[in-house]
Symmetry: C2
Subunit: 596 residues, 2 copies
């Protein structure tokens, strides 16, 4: 298996040449305080070293060992504790954190690149800093000043890690029916009691303390999602002077045996009157959690890109090394017993498909990160609100579409390896198993699709969609004189028009029949994502076109050729998706339970 | 996880109502000698009991235990040895075998149903009878009378099992470059020396002897695929009286750690001057192997259907049990905290997609099995040759398309489970891991696609394709007066026309540029398979339509509704595939290695 190489060249291209992130940062005073191009470059460089040099070498063995549970204690796989220490020393957990409490205040456009490299090196490990950063976000956005002061500095530094406790055995997608209870104490704290499952890194030996954010119901809370509150529940209580006090009354009952991400501990957490503190308002816990989730969801999409990039690197190396049969047009390396399999059109189709999704996905996640930065930091209300709309619309696409394509890329990469892809020692099958979770957690992709189609597109009567369509229209308009871009823009226009029509269609028919939303949602998300990636590839063509002349590295000319491949081979899927969507909900709603 | 239930109801429908297999069998005198509808029914019934009652309960634990290697000996997981004994007692290895040597002489149309049930219960286990039956086929078709008499009876009974030894570390797809050698002895035997990998059940403790069919090169054999011979190499040499003699000089060096089918042993086999006997003619070993492979390849497609059926059963049960959120049109079970997730359009989309592929795939594999039976048993030359053409054309589709859709079905089923689908105890993730191999072994699906597009469609200048197109045209013609069928026939016609056009297009462009074959092949196989399944669904509508009136079981009405779903939601994919194919090979061949 190829050693994972942080894709710094492409990250720099996307960040600087496609999106001109330095100009974005300069336009946001609060960001500009903390980052400039040199700082960003130093961060990328160092992140790449940690990913390739520290984390990636641990990944294979962590899958074999897994995290180990023993009487409530969880031991992370060999090397994880030391690697986590590296993250602590660099302050990486606080990369995007609030500087008031020790965070570095870096923009998401930059943080997302760090995340991709860490996740590309090891999803199992990467979940620890990811969950910690997510918990920090929720605390920073919703907790009292006192809680922030008490917890954030040690979480940003990473001395303490974070965990999110949402799911219960009977309640996953439908958090409205959770049973965990929080009873108020006289001192303003609460006693939290209940069982949570699927708690990533809920217990481990890498950090001194673990800060859980737990969804629970207050006594007499309203039924359903409007009766849920969010509590901060530390593993060790924290004394007034900041030192660690007694152990809180909750523990890890077991960890799951699972398909992948075996290095990470997926915990059952039993809370037995554990002391916790309310974060945000009573009964508004779900909203508080979702502030964080919007960030996390992009993070999961980025995780997918990380895995897909690793798959591409592996498959590419294998396709160059493995000799087998001759090229259809005759021997390319007659001195060898056979040609490297990269000469075969179908192997190239596989590699180019992966490359299209990985690089298109990286651009798209940076595009979404850009809106997250504007929505958080812009001082102009209109600009901020516009970005908030974009974030609301695009987040479910980034989560679902990027992870769906990431699994495709991992499975395709495995296929390039043939039988060797099925054998554990090559590591390629681990990528498939690890990547698979990204489609499931942080809101399964079907739920993301419902969010996009229902809550975002239909509920806004298309207004949120229009923001996106308008952004593409402006790009097409601005570049209408560009000869090299023209063929791409024509195809992009046609794809957007197709998406416009389908969007309008679903808004219309769902007004009569609410089932039309769920009937269209997944195909719509695919269609939306494919169109968004076409936009990204057009932007990349624009950024690469001039530099491609005289480019001997193949980087820029490769961009142009990959764009051509994407428009020729992958974008056409939108035609069929539109047809499927238009067939409506009848064919799936008509069958009775017995008929399915 | 749902207990696997052999899908006998649907198997009977396909066999008797869709294809009228009894009439087919009656038309083939050599088949009619051995089977009649009552015998067939008894076989199906018994096979179902073994699959559901004996094999399925072993499957989960076999994944945890795996086969174990110890100093050259391999121990199968707990219960496998006893289960294999059940197979021996029923003579199931010889179900389709030659009656002259103790086989039962059952037609493939029936054997395929047995295979599906066994594989649906446990792919790891099912590989043992499958490989044995495959080895018997090759021996029966190509070995001398003496070898047949010596080996076949004990292999059909299952007292001895079979293994196929093709792949070497440096030679998988490209068998022309294998290095294993066979040197002639004076007594007509050969000494075989070399290393083979990925040998399924190459060593184990379930049978008394293991008969390996090994590809090797004679001294001075021509280079490449035309210099390969096939040898029968038994684990224990067989004395003149049929008793077991000394152990042959080969052994299992290790077994692979792999993604799935962990219960089965995937062996590295080291041959060290092992005694073997030539099967078939010198240097014609590949052709002899491929006689068998045509049967095995359908078997792998059927394996996919088995896994997909198990996935459908699991996901359907979970979707009925799991309550979570409310139906979009309002609470369906207001007395509960939430509705079962089967009320949601997107969950239904997932289930109906699985059902479309599983039941359409079952019909398609039976359709191909029917051609295999005619090609083997028809006494009329023209009828037989026509069927041989169909088999040649359809086999790669059955292998690749059915297993690709099978992985889809397993992954979709896992998605229905949400987080629980990722946890080992539910068994759904095992289906994904086990099913994944079906796309890889017995010729990776990309190779199947090349076989279809290149060797079958283009090399015959479309003649083989015409056989299939003509079969559909006749069906459409015969049923043109059927009102209920009409809408389906119209869509089917359009799909065939689309496939006709693309077929003609690729034949034309590949004459100029051989890369066009590999550029089109995978998308073409998908398009072909989707069109073939549309044909199957039209046939099923015809078989179900009359009985659907007054049907209270939901079986026949369910068929009609699933057909509607298939035509509405899945067949449209062919539109995009056609467009992708027409874009040609340039976009994947233009990039240099550096540009990929």
């Amino acid at each position: 298996m190829a050693d994972y190489q942080a894709p710094l060249r492409d990250i720099r291209f996307v960040l600087n040449e496609v999106f001109d992130a330095p100009a974005l940062w300069a336009s946001l005073p609060k960001v500009a305080e903390n980052v400039d191009p040199d700082t960003a470059e130093a961060i990328l460089e160092e992140a790449g070293k940690i990913a390739s040099g520290v984390l990636a070498p641990l990944n294979r063995e962590s899958d074999e060992q897994g995290s180990q549970w023993n009487d409530g204690e969880v031991t992370a796989p060999e090397g994880f504790k030391e690697a986590y220490q590296t993250i602590v020393e660099g302050g990486w957990n606080g990369l995007g954190g609030n500087p008031e409490f020790g965070g570095m205040g870096m923009p998401k456009t930059l943080v997302a690149q760090f995340e991709e490299m860490v996740q590309g090196a090891s999803i199992s490990f990467g979940l620890a800093p990811m969950l910690t950063a997510g918990a920090c976000l929720a605390i920073n956005a919703h907790a009292s000043q006192e809680l922030k002061e008490k917890y954030l500095p040690n979480m940003y530094s990473g001395v303490w890690s974070g965990a999110m406790d949402l799911t219960e055995p009977h309640a996953g997608t439908d958090l409205g029916i959770i049973r965990t209870k929080a009873e108020p104490n006289d001192d303003g704290s609460f006693n939290v009691t209940g069982t949570k499952i699927f708690i990533t890194w809920g217990e481990h030996d890498m950090a001194e303390n673990i800060i859980h954010l737990v969804l629970a119901k207050l006594p007499d809370a309203p039924k359903g999602p409007k009766g849920i509150s969010l509590f901060l529940v530390p593993k060790f209580l924290v004394n007034e002077d900041g030192s660690l006090g007694e152990r809180n009354t909750f523990s890890c009952g077991s960890i799951e045996k699972k398909m992948g991400i075996k290095g990470s501990a997926t915990c059952v957490m039993n809370f037995d009157g554990a002391r916790g503190w309310l974060v945000g308002e009573e009964n508004k816990g779900l909203a508080a959690m979702f502030t964080m989730m919007n960030y996390e969801r992009l993070g999961v999409g980025v995780q997918g890109i990380g895995a897909a990039e690793a798959s591409l690197q592996n498959a590419r190396e294998y396709a160059l090394d493995r000799i087998q049969s001759r090229a259809p047009t005759g021997a390319q390396q007659p001195e060898k017993a056979a040609d490297p399999i990269i000469v075969h059109p179908d192997v190239r189709r596989m590699l180019m498909t992966m490359k299209s999704y990985v690089e298109g996905g990286r651009a798209f996640s940076t595009y979404v990160a850009q809106w997250l930065d504007i929505s958080k930091y812009a001082e102009d209300d209109e600009r901020r609100q516009h970005a908030e709309g974009m974030v609301a619309l695009l987040t479910p696409v980034a989560k679902a579409f990027l992870t769906d394509r990431a699994l495709d890329a991992c499975v395709i990469g495995q296929q390039v390896f043939g039988g060797h892809g099925f054998i554990r020692e090559w590591g390629q099958e681990q990528l498939v198993r690890d990547c698979r979770i990204t489609q499931i957690y942080e809101g399964a992709n079907g739920i993301q699709a419902l969010d996009l189609m229902g809550r975002k597109v239909v509920a806004s009567k298309g207004k949120l969609y229009e923001l996106f369509a308008q952004d593409i229209a402006s790009f097409i308009e601005e570049n209408s004189g560009d000869e090299q871009l023209r063929p791409y823009l024509e195809q992009l226009s046609a794809a957007v028009e197709r998406l416009d029509d389908v969007t309008e269609h679903v808004i219309k028919v769902s007004a009569e029949n609410p089932n039309e939303i769920g009937a269209a949602s997944v195909d719509y998300t695919d269609m939306f994502g494919l169109t968004a990636l076409a936009y990204m590839w057009a932007k990349m063509v624009k950024a690469a076109a001039e530099k491609a002349e005289g480019d001997t590295s193949g980087f820029y000319t490769g961009k142009l050729k990959t764009a051509r491949f994407y428009f020729d081979r992958l974008l056409p899927k939108t035609v069929s998706l539109a047809e499927s969507i238009r067939s409506g909900s009848d064919s799936m709603m008509a069958p009775t339970v017995e008929e399915i």
